[in-house]
Symmetry: C3
Subunit: 335 residues, 3 copies
């Protein structure tokens, strides 16, 4: 099966003038979304195609379909994240689900049992889908073994952030018409980035070439074993890139001496107009928000014609609607 | 009237296959739920029967009935409580009410008038039901004299927590088929527990025998006057109990020197497998969450076959739906 | 066109027994509500008339109309404000819109671009209306130039708070049948008050006489240039007033030495029963909450027959429904 382009996918998408109609059935059979490492290209394509059909809804003034009416989606966040939490909440509301935030501090959760107790309590209140963010890698996987609700991983430590990976894939597919055969560079702090990890799994499975670029302290050479190219000089790889995904520098990590200074980082890796001019004319620039203007990219680049930063936000909502919809089809309490 | 069992109650419950239908009329005539001390056995039975009929809804994938559509339920919490607040919010949403949280710090409320001003402001916004938690005993009662909204007490200091009492009664009635004639021990910090007080009123009115058991500093002998038995040694009463309700040790109270140490407390009062073996074979163990594993009960007991801890959470939602539904029938703005 | 009284306005209001019907079309053509300084008397009348028709809904037990179903209203608050935020949320829910709170700390927004980035992200999630509170005067105006969502100013520094001004106008019009020709005193801290500023613009345009009264440090003489009378002794102006709007003393401002002490302030400017007796027998007393009893006005006056404090809260909801409704008619994504 070739990489599905929006055009190729359209026979499976209901016409835009069929308001409220559900997407056509797909190959999706999973109850949880834990990471892109687990998914096949066909499964990811199912999410992207479903997201395309849902993205129509966001353009209407009545941004709602009854697909998940009466279902309950919990945001169970053990790390702060206004943006991702808001995106999931809106996605759930557009599917007519009820949403409930359950924000917990990790301090009260030193024992593993208590984390599961919290989730079991939420399940006992009738939760259908738990959207889980946790600082510990694997926490959503652990939960999925102890509760019968569907689990969506909204970020587990430095491990995976699968809906971010999927929204990046969707943004690339929409802009380029395909993913296979493209050269995509992930730029910056690869080592600590769950966004990088989910991108790597997704891009490789779709047949893209993946370059990891950044300071040696933040780009472990060992990641070549995944099938990626590792580069330390942006100038060396820039002319070959179709897409650059500019990862966020997390200032709290700077304390660890991972790089000399923000100024030095920006000198070597910030996307500037000058660097953009050395790249392909149709270079696509992605960046998971919130961006640090003047650190990872200049304001001119962030707001320029190559940037798809706001498209990513819009596509993120469609991807999250698709994931909520697809995992709900496998819920134990399903009709 | 004999204790209503779920079976005996069923003629008053609409069939489960009548989706969205409202429960049949009951003997309930109150506008507020302030405490179980005020309620008759018949009134509590009305809540439990209504909760039984609503508990069907929580098993459906579409967990919603239109009963309170367009009504507004405020959570007015002057103490932190994620669980109780979440349970009330979900209960209101399942009845299709709109919910609004209004969390206030007590610090800004040193004057009594200001507490009532806050509530009057909320009422002026069109509030139908206020779910109130406050550290001062009697605060919900005071409010009920100053606003025309329905008031539900969600915990007032060490006084009452009536929906917790009702969900405990529901869990016992479901498991045992009756409440009358059972021997129920409340274990732990009785003196400071609103859960204990609401349980005592409810259980005595249903004709259960109530034993209060814990260290002498936490179980005042004077509570015998309510009609309870007071015991200081768990082993003495354990073989007679049909139900043990394991109250939470509130560590912040430990500062007051109420007991020597958590370790010593657990040695004498923690529910262990060994102690369970000395009890009746059908012992029912309740515990209002969140539990401290290894303090009030061992993980084996918490997760064991005698434990109804998660049933309590599920029943809590049904009880809160019932209470919201019943007090709404008496609202001044009713149809 | 003469000042619209509720009676005069009624032909434009659908009958109360037409549940859920939308208000008739008005002269309103704006996409944003940034301040009352910008609005004509006709535009303000359009809001007040629409609010009158919506105020019917708040008296029903089913407090909901489908007008904004599927629209998304964001509360984007960079200052704490439980009351205003709650009022906007309920107003949106009564119009069947989905609401989302996005509370941000100003500390993370030292750069102007980031404030706009935050708003652009929210817009990319499909936001239709942003209700914005920000400590910087003009922040909502700046936003309105960078996003295509409708912007409603919910308070920008000491500049404007237009929905508070409109709800004060509505409360006066309801109580007095008109605004034109009335004498209205604003009492207290005029210099730092966005409520004062919005009241001044609104009242002057409706043809009321406006007196600004308070200590010289808080009532700049220069405000006479707006067309107001400035007075420093309450007793001098009290007998002429039809309406007194008692502004809140913001204790955090007291640090700046703006007046000697709260006690001295109250001695000269607190509304007491004794002062009320020196005023017209039909004096109307307004106060934007939360009030400090015993500082700006005595409890007897706050709860007395002249006070319209709780009417203001109720009217605030109707005004906010009207504003959300009217700006939505001009939204780019409109039907």
């Amino acid at each position: 099966m070739s990489t599905a382009t929006p055009a190729a996918a359209s026979p499976r998408i209901p016409p835009a003038d069929a308001p409220g109609s559900d997407p056509a059935p797909t190959a999706w059979t999973r109850k949880h979304l834990l990471g892109l490492e687990d998914l096949s290209r066909e499964e990811m394509t199912a999410v992207l195609d479903t997201a395309e059909s849902f993205s129509e809804i966001s353009k209407r003034s009545r941004k709602k379909v009854p697909a998940l009416q009466g279902r309950i989606v919990f945001n169970l966040f053990f790390e702060n994240s206004t943006r991702t939490r808001t995106s999931f909440s809106l996605a759930a509301k557009r599917l007519s689900a009820d949403t409930q935030d359950f924000t917990a501090s990790v301090s009260s959760l030193s024992k593993g049992e208590t984390f599961i107790d919290t989730a079991k309590n939420i399940e006992a209140m009738g939760c259908d889908v738990m959207v889980v963010r946790h600082p510990t890698p694997g926490a959503p996987h652990l939960l999925s073994q102890h509760v019968s609700s569907s689990i969506i991983n909204a970020g587990d430590g430095a491990h995976e952030h699968p809906t971010q990976g999927l929204l990046d894939l969707m943004t690339i597919r929409r802009a380029k018409g395909k993913i296979e055969g493209l050269t995509v560079a992930l730029l910056g702090d690869i080592a600590h980035s769950r966004v990088a990890r989910s991108n790597i799994w997704g891009l490789l499975k779709f047949g893209a070439k993946v370059i990891l670029c950044g300071p040696p302290t933040l780009v472990p050479r060992s990641m070549e074993r995944l099938g990626c190219e590792v580069a330390y000089r942006l100038e060396d790889v820039l002319p070959r890139c179709d897409v650059i995904n500019v990862l966020r520098i997390q200032f709290e990590r700077q304390q660890g001496g991972m790089f000399p200074s923000v100024g030095e980082y920006s000198q070597f890796y910030m996307m500037t107009q000058e660097r953009v001019r050395k790249a392909k004319p149709d270079l696509l620039i992605l960046a998971p928000g919130p961006i640090n203007r003047g650190v990872e990219l200049t304001p001119e680049v962030a707001d320029g014609k190559h940037s798809a930063i706001l498209d990513q936000v819009t596509n993120g909502l469609a991807v999250r609607m698709a994931v909520l919809y697809l995992v709900s089809g496998k819920m134990p309490a399903g009709e």
